[in-house]
């Protein structure tokens, strides 16, 4: 899966939780879920769970720990899909 495809899919995953919809339209690898998209920290777990469902993967706590931005989410998903 290429970078653009992943970011486009992730944008739809985070859409219901993003309080800054303008930043959502400008989403890129460097976008921070909390600081840029203003996702509530209690909703970050929903992003993690939705990503798990979408790609049929299990994200460990140690991985979730750094899943604060698009790049980190992409790295985690990419490595998980490679393991499959």
């Amino acid at each position: 899966m290429d970078k653009e495809t992943f970011i486009a899919q992730l944008r739809e995953i985070v859409r219901p939780y993003a309080k800054n919809q303008e930043a959502l339209e400008q989403i890129s690898a460097s976008t921070d879920f909390i600081q840029d998209l203003k996702i509530n920290s209690a909703n970050l777990v929903d992003v993690v769970l939705d990503v798990e469902e979408k790609y049929d993967i299990v994200i460990q706590n140690e991985e979730m720990e750094r899943m604060l931005n698009v790049q980190a989410a992409m790295d985690i998903v990419t490595s998980k899909l490679k393991e499959k």
Binding site: N43, L49, N61, M64, M67
Partner: protein, 186 residues
């Protein structure tokens, strides 16, 4: 070092599906899940524990400047729950952070500190407000005096700069219709 967190219970209920598969497993340790299951009001307990984790996280973040999303590494231990107040500790890396949570209106406001003594030397302000302008709110509450400045550093950590250019740590939080602020009174 102090921290605080506020949860608007109406908004939390609207924004989070606490019953979805994996939600509690990712956020809470087995001991915390047991506290939630045995609580008379499990949903309120979820948000009480969450606000404690967040308040302690803010202290750790202020100290380390390192951002993480590791809620299980902050484990809540309730010491006393009575009426609309709860006290206890959050353990992170073997270090206890002392908290005091208060239920006010439809929100839970938690303040935390690195020691029990420091916790008692804090003042907390729980305000009902739609749009938070912390500087304006601090001014309205008489906390921010003329000549003082509310500012945040590059890591987003807030301070009040007094007229002698000394920076006093302050912790701010906003969720839904509520704003919480905590500062040291020493």
């Amino acid at each position: 070092m102090i921290g605080n967190d506020i949860v608007d219970l109406y908004l939390a209920e609207k924004e989070s599906r606490c019953h979805r598969k994996g939600f509690l497993d990712k956020l809470f340790t087995p001991a915390e899940k047991s506290i939630i299951e045995n609580a008379t009001a499990p949903l309120t307990m979820i948000w009480l524990l969450w606000s404690c984790k967040e308040a302690a996280y803010k202290i750790v973040h202020r100290a380390t400047r390192h951002r993480t999303y590791a809620p299980q590494k902050f484990e809540c231990h309730l010491t006393n729950v009575s009426g609309n107040q709860a006290t206890g500790t959050v353990i992170h890396d073997l270090q206890p952070y002392y908290f005091l949570s208060t239920g006010i209106g439809s929100c839970i406001h938690t303040r935390a500190a690195v020691s029990h003594t420091l916790l008692q030397q804090t003042a907390a302000y729980t305000l009902y407000h739609r749009t938070p302008d912390y500087a304006a709110l601090l001014h309205t509450q008489g906390i921010l005096q003329p000549g003082q400045l509310f500012w945040k550093d590059a890591d987003g950590i807030p301070y009040i700069r007094d007229s002698y250019s000394r920076d006093v740590p302050v912790s701010v939080s906003h969720h839904g219709k509520y704003v919480g602020m905590v500062m040291s009174t020493e």
